[in-house]
Symmetry: C2
């Protein structure tokens, strides 16, 4: 992982580096975070494609605009649960969610 990427992650609240401060994420941690970021990106795309504001999407999700903003910003405080529920609420089928999870998705 390069330095710029590390800083981008830390900006979003991710703790990058485990026991040893210099060491990066384990492959498992890394896969997990990248999965979340992929979902996050896909959510913004879907929302915009449906011409919804964050406010409108928040109502569908029974959440708040600020949380939707955090979802789309890839904030570390957002759970996989909320990410996946967001996609589903935006109309994604399990198949489509899977496509995003697989990673070659767009």
């Amino acid at each position: 992982m390069d330095k710029a990427k590390k800083q981008r992650l830390e900006k979003r609240g991710w703790k990058v580096g485990g026991v040893d401060e210099f060491l990066a994420l384990t492959p498992d941690e890394s896969a997990y975070i990248e999965l979340k970021l992929a979902l996050s990106k896909s959510i913004r795309q879907r929302r915009q494609h449906k011409n919804l504001t964050q406010m409108q999407m928040a109502r569908l999700l029974k959440s708040s605009q600020s949380r939707v903003a955090k979802i789309e910003a890839g904030d570390a405080s957002v759970s996989l649960d909320l990410l996946v529920r967001s996609l589903i609420i935006l109309g994604a089928t399990r198949r489509e969610v899977a496509h995003v999870v697989a990673g070659q998705a767009r």
Copy 2:
């Protein structure tokens, strides 16, 4: 949803039926729960295939045997986060996780 299935879900702690007691889950809720159950099932398979006890898997996950049991029992108190992290820790790639998410998986 038939009655037996409803009871099985409620046993696991799922709140089945929303505003109206007779009404079942919305399609979104249903998709979300079925996704979790699919992951749960896949986790048990993977763990057994690797000949790990729940205890051993708990150590990999930095969790406890009881939580692993709940993961595999499809308990409602288990998050999607933990389910996906479990699969990853058992060696699943994002592609493989996606296959489970897609639903025609095995």
